[in-house]
Symmetry: D2
Subunit: 339 residues, 4 copies
Amino acid sequence: MQLGMIGLGRMGANMVRRLTRGGHQCVVYDTHPDAVAALVKEGAVGSSSLDEFVHKLSAPRAVWLMVPAAVVDRTLADLVPRLAPGDIVIDGGNSYYVDDLRRAKQLAAKGLHYVDVGTSGGVFGLDRGYCQMIGGEPAVVQHLDPIFATLAPPFESAPRTAGRSGPPSTAERGYLHCGPNGSGHFVKMVHNGIEYGLMAAYAEGLNILQHANIGRRDHAVDAETTPLRDPAHYQYDLNVGDIAEVWRRGSVVASWLLDLTAQALGKDPGLESYAGRVSDSGEGRWTVLAAVDEGVPVPVLSAALFERFSSRGEDDFANRMLSAMRHAFGGHVEKPAGH
Amino acid sequence: MQLGMIGLGRMGANMVRRLTRGGHQCVVYDTHPDAVAALVKEGAVGSSSLDEFVHKLSAPRAVWLMVPAAVVDRTLADLVPRLAPGDIVIDGGNSYYVDDLRRAKQLAAKGLHYVDVGTSGGVFGLDRGYCQMIGGEPAVVQHLDPIFATLAPPFESAPRTAGRSGPPSTAERGYLHCGPNGSGHFVKMVHNGIEYGLMAAYAEGLNILQHANIGRRDHAVDAETTPLRDPAHYQYDLNVGDIAEVWRRGSVVASWLLDLTAQALGKDPGLESYAGRVSDSGEGRWTVLAAVDEGVPVPVLSAALFERFSSRGEDDFANRMLSAMRHAFGGHVEKPAGH
Amino acid sequence: MQLGMIGLGRMGANMVRRLTRGGHQCVVYDTHPDAVAALVKEGAVGSSSLDEFVHKLSAPRAVWLMVPAAVVDRTLADLVPRLAPGDIVIDGGNSYYVDDLRRAKQLAAKGLHYVDVGTSGGVFGLDRGYCQMIGGEPAVVQHLDPIFATLAPPFESAPRTAGRSGPPSTAERGYLHCGPNGSGHFVKMVHNGIEYGLMAAYAEGLNILQHANIGRRDHAVDAETTPLRDPAHYQYDLNVGDIAEVWRRGSVVASWLLDLTAQALGKDPGLESYAGRVSDSGEGRWTVLAAVDEGVPVPVLSAALFERFSSRGEDDFANRMLSAMRHAFGGHVEKPAGH
Amino acid sequence: MQLGMIGLGRMGANMVRRLTRGGHQCVVYDTHPDAVAALVKEGAVGSSSLDEFVHKLSAPRAVWLMVPAAVVDRTLADLVPRLAPGDIVIDGGNSYYVDDLRRAKQLAAKGLHYVDVGTSGGVFGLDRGYCQMIGGEPAVVQHLDPIFATLAPPFESAPRTAGRSGPPSTAERGYLHCGPNGSGHFVKMVHNGIEYGLMAAYAEGLNILQHANIGRRDHAVDAETTPLRDPAHYQYDLNVGDIAEVWRRGSVVASWLLDLTAQALGKDPGLESYAGRVSDSGEGRWTVLAAVDEGVPVPVLSAALFERFSSRGEDDFANRMLSAMRHAFGGHVEKPAGH
């Protein structure tokens, strides 16, 4: 079927490629003409303005936005007046689901349909397919099924779950209509919250392995340093990259994130090319906010989020506060770095 | 080659089966004669006493212990006097690596070799193979290579990591000589610590999804209950099992644990067959102890451990303490359950 | 000076008493006439309707609301139309500071002034005085200074901080103009967030003391229970109440919360009168939300909040999920309670 | 009575002063003769060797060690051969209680008594008195009562707990016989674990206040930065020092640690004299180890400990691991510091 795509960055462009290869017609638009031209060469229908973009689409139009969350409202402000009742707008980016609720209501007032799609897959989606979590009206989601089916990974990409039988459900083919508007991004938000937790679990564990030779190092002997009681217990020089690799086969902690971890450690065993300032892009925060609203305890997911904040130095004032207190009650003086 | 196996429970018996199928000769012993008899039918060489077991093995003997961690020392006390210098004892169970250090020293004093092997794979190991993390002397580990290679999963069970080439290393074939004695169980300990963190990340995230309809429930309006500011934001009845399933293909959080989660939710969507009292079996605790000794922060792994303690009611006195304080300073009275 | 008080519950009534004793005239109103009558006996000016209440106040009126956060908007809807430009409304309850921002703007549009006051002191405030954190316009806050000064604890209630000299600032007399509207409740919100953390620190520590005799108990010996390596290390039957008491003098952890803890343990050493279902009333949640918005890590404050959620069973589904996973990969069966 | 004191550092010297002022005779020894000379001027009995020290004490001797935990065993090795059956050795430092169990047994074999005393009070103890947590044999602890009573803070230093009556117990006079050997240091260990939690609660909360103006700052607009949804909610320039001060009177979070915090912020509002590298000196770690052994959840106390580890950069490898994973699956590139 025909789909319009606005936003031809890393994600949007690859989705157009996957759809074009799958036999769909993609009309594409981006504020950078080069991005449009590149995809035209690969079979997409280009457009140099929003007007042209909209006119090249047949009614009812289906327009997929793949733009940064901060730009969605601005894009909608430009796009919506050009659309006609019955047209469909899909937000496939990383919007906050609370914004979906508002946008869906605004579009409905104009006779337009809104679909929110959380997509996972990253830079590998072009080849592996995109896992899609979808929120919207049933008939509209059904109408778009050919698009979702093509974007999704194949059923064969994972062994069938024991107990499932019959024709594969869409969940088994990598996309799921989760519920009404907002639910797609809600589920994607929690997906990313979990992702933070998984990543932190690996990172903390590998950090323990990396320090398993601490018994060999000389330690300061002073009142400000806790002595290691049993240096003989920490004499291991472990190859963390090989350990990540061996866990990929047969272990309980095997996962796609572990595959990537093994690869990263293979390339750069000491991870010297990174500084350790870890960004967070919204979903992890929103996941914690949702948990707090729901009254659901998330000590692991929140700890993972807070580690990222700390990695960027946001704990600095708090830490200086602790040193100030220690100095006040015990006369303790801070030790300089490296001691 | 020939291997003696002591301990024919779930894990030990399946390892014998996998080795026998792989062409090795297994001499087996267990305090339950039935367990021995069952494996003899499948091609193992049985023994009805430790003496018989030892006599059926050719020097240098290789004896694999697959017994509960609490029984290893007792088993060694019976076994070691029957062995001869040059013989090898392998502890393939879930021993604390600190015990390995002691045992290796004790055995070395008698001319015996000790190898510690952390094995992961659970009830699926017979078919999938066992991921093995190995600690011991290089020559001894090399001598046992045929055993490890057969127990391990095949190279083909995971796609090769980008950047690796040439003949597959043992890490790529599911087993790794990590370092000297204790390192095998050290790495396995951290593996399990990570496992706790991964499991908690999924469980917390799915719990948020499960409560996404909290805006529909009636809420108490009183000073002891935080009102939900935006009930409209929490109106989703999500199918958590389908969500776990859809994440299996193409998403960033795909993993073997997620496969099992999807399966469990498929069978019992409300998880009614579980009470939620979660055991912990040692490695998660030892992981936190190691991190504390090393001075490595593990907020996620420790939070995952403490959630298990709390699930068993070990936070009870602390919680009553909190209620007592709230009553003392604010006159707050506890709300009964279900309100 | 004259002050109108709406809301004569535990907090409001005691504030009226403290103000009356301090020489101020309080005009009081409550939807329960009994509450009004009781305070009239103690010197307050009663009113049986909002109209009467407003008419008994001289312009510019100063009206203090001491009602549940959930009722503030409704109360304002009734009150505001009866006020005149220049009048002042003070919200002394536990409102979310974000609501203050909205209300201040709405009132300003009508020429009214809004002041938000976070008050701490609980049931002891009548005698000890109320710590007040104030947000609002400087001139308006200054105008109300006699009220704040009387409600506040005396300067003498704490030894002067080293380095401070000259006439005591209001911060040293128990009240502080923190900044513009919302800042009073913002600071109070964080105060309560800290309170959660402090309470949890005591509760967790005392729980460790309470379990210091765990080495004496019989333990299950099975694969689902981690054995205690050194039972000899946990043979202490400690008197937790006496320990809380001894820490009150000379120790680093002395605090008012500890005073209350010692008292609660003195009355009920086993805390048998509590079930351990710990409520949370909003500020702890909002503190975490603010930290997440600011990108400030709060692992301790959030852990304290989540312990409360868990104490009420909100971790139940997550825990059953963990048991389901353990069963799936390891065949582990849950142990019943008490084993 | 007479007491021998070995170790005349900050703590030991002040204890001698407090005892001397209280009418006790202190025989003192230190490896630094200057430290001895200084106290002789203040009324202590000096000694220039361990032999002289022991000979100046009357049997049964009571010798208090106030030396770093790492030096206790060495000091005992020198001291014990010089003592006679019936003599008493008191370890008043920060020893691990597990070491007490071993030492008490070793000394008992020689007819010597061992008493472990956890002391809190820091640099303020000379004037305020020392809170003492005591482990040992009842008769021996009773024998030393005059010493403990003099070192302890006066009963009057805190208002009596409601519900307590009759002659004040020792708990109400600042010292407590907690139980058999090790229990004094066990209780002190948990005291310090709680101290970590309390300190972290204040530090995290004050950090939120310090960042309450984040809505005023320019923020990067890119895919790696979470935009602040409501900058208008974070426009407060708060005086954190005044807030700490105001909380000292009448609030629920008042404490001695808060007193010190207010003082530190008064002197150095931006805490510029600290770098934020926070040491930990053992007890916080041991508290977490004990909790893990007991199966008691301590998410707050452990989070507080791990924040200290992170403040010293021990999370570095883990953070780089997270950046490496983000780069691998999403092509995310780290943002440099300050952006």
